[in-house]
Amino acid sequence: MIAPAAETATTTWRALGTGVRLVVNGGEIDSVRAAVQDVLDAVDRAYSRFRPDSEIVGLNARPDSTVSVSPLLADAIEVALAVAERTNGAVDPTVGRAMRAIGYDIDFERIRSDRGSFELRLEPIPGWRALELSTARREVRLRPGVELDLGSTGKALAADLAAAAAHGAGGAGVLLSLGGDIATAGPAPDGGWRILVAEDSEMPADAPGEVIAISDGAVATSSTTVRRWRRGDRSVHHLIDPRTGGPADSAWRTASVAAPTCVDANGAATAAIVLGADATTWLGQAGYPARLVATSGAVTRLNGWPEPIQ
């Protein structure tokens, strides 16, 4: 347990295949952690691609059928569709087959070992309009060939839900990081929640670097530098460009965005990577503060993202 400031308590663990960091401002942490874990367990059961008995695995196995889903999975799909729409399809939940094509069909902890050379078979992304969702009836229908992967928006939604549940559990201010996607709820410490902005979420919070503060809302970072692996002589990463079906060949290697919710921040950050050179215009119109790191390492700050204090 690390306490970066006297008024906060921090605990860390792993869930959903990533690091979880919970910081509580002015409250007891055990019950808050339990509330977070309840949400993460529900998320794991609903839409983990790596759990054979998850709902989404069952859904993907039943193309061209109308399938009833749980409220949580229906909400997660609805959120993914909303993000797909507002990013003009740059962040698309129908990348499941493409993920498998690049070898990301097992938990990332098992991917790192090279499984030898492979033929990269790029396939067109079916696109988010290739699924039908009735939110009223909580029914989903996937066209044949469509596989859902809610990895990006799903993790962010989990952070939003878990932070809200944690705040609701005791009324304390909460910061929750799921693999570097950060949601907050309730009162922040004096001076705000301090967040180190890095390319790798495993970077210790007390490491030197650019630190920002927010009093509410969320910050998310997408990067092609971390969840990256080799197959033969190829280096691939997990951010799929729906226009090609392959890993995004972007002008940016890392994008960080601040937004009202973690879903908003994650969607915008991921879209920025996929959109590449067009991201600055798109983000400029969206209005979210953003920090983009080019493949050269040059940093671009947009919409009031502040310069670091030297």
């Binding site: 970066p4 609701g168 910061l175 919070a205 920002i212 927010i214 969840r227 890392t254 960080s256 209005g287």
Partner: protein
Amino acid sequence: MTSAATRRSPADRDRAVARLRSLTIGTAVASVAAVGAFGSVAAISYSGSSTDPVTTAAVSTTSTSTAATSGSTTSSSTSSTTSSGAGSSTTTTPSVTSTTGTAHATSGGS
């Protein structure tokens, strides 16, 4: 990782599920509301995915205010108010400030 703190009684779990359901509804509504913030960015038709009229009926007004530069501190904020078939919701982009000191958490790729 499991701890004693995460072991709950069935009654606890039932309450958690109920809480989760209420939260997911709230978040979905907030997310739909956030669509409005992008309305001027991605004004495209929604042709045949969600059949929920809430998703298709979002109408937004967006206003942005930016400023506050003081010494080595810069911040910004954006507000948007969205009305939809499910009611109204207001979301505010957080003000981002540069600071120093040990961080509470790290935002990075994973």
